[in-house]
Symmetry: C2
């Protein structure tokens, strides 16, 4: 790893830039947490579950019905979301109702959606 960490002779290393960036960037622990968070959004199934819960509290079975997924699939994904404290749940008889436990999620997804939609508009015009 260290052996091929080359620096392109004398031309390239823009050390002023590099030091500038170094001073501004998040700490490495934060990078890990950030990427873990984005990982939760990166699977389409999970994302659809999250977006569904944005609007309504739903039970596992509702999610299966809504998304056309089997129960095991939904429960496994919900487990991941639970572990990351992104969703909360309450029991009501035999059913368990899930809802989002985070105020930022909606904003983040909305931003990303804005990006997508603008991208579409841009490509539509060219």
């Amino acid at each position: 790893m260290e052996e091929d960490k080359f620096v392109c002779s004398e031309i390239c290393p823009h050390f002023n830039k590099i030091n500038n960036v170094k001073s501004l960037e998040p700490k490495s622990e934060e990078y890990q947490k950030l990427s873990n968070m984005f990982k939760l959004f990166s699977d389409e199934t999970r994302l659809r579950i999250i977006c569904s819960l944005l609007k309504e509290e739903l039970c596992v079975c509702d999610l299966c019905e809504l998304l056309g997924l089997n129960q095991s699939q939904v429960s496994h994904q919900l487990q991941l979301l639970r572990n990351s404290k992104l969703v909360k749940f309450r029991r009501e008889g035999k059913q368990i109702f899930y809802s989002l436990d985070d105020e930022h999620v909606e904003l983040i997804i909305q931003m990303a959606l804005n990006h997508i939609l603008e991208e579409e508009k841009k490509n539509g015009r060219m």
Copy 2:
């Protein structure tokens, strides 16, 4: 797939909820684009590259130096970012300079970072 798409007898399907959610949620094509976008942020290496480019235009070699990665690794990740139009680049002699080609990226990461930091604060207090 279809066979085990059960609906928990008569109790569960909260069809009014389900229909409400259905009417509000993004279209399935958008889900795919959204998850693809988040996938780009979900790898720590890629995320560090993105965050570095947030501040400065940098050449491949700068990124290697800055992040302690080998050239192949950086180029492969840049290829993914290029394919998704998240970065742009310009050639200057032998070097290629990359920069971000998107205004939303910074906002999205900032939101997520807010989330992380608040989470930390919350846990610190308990």
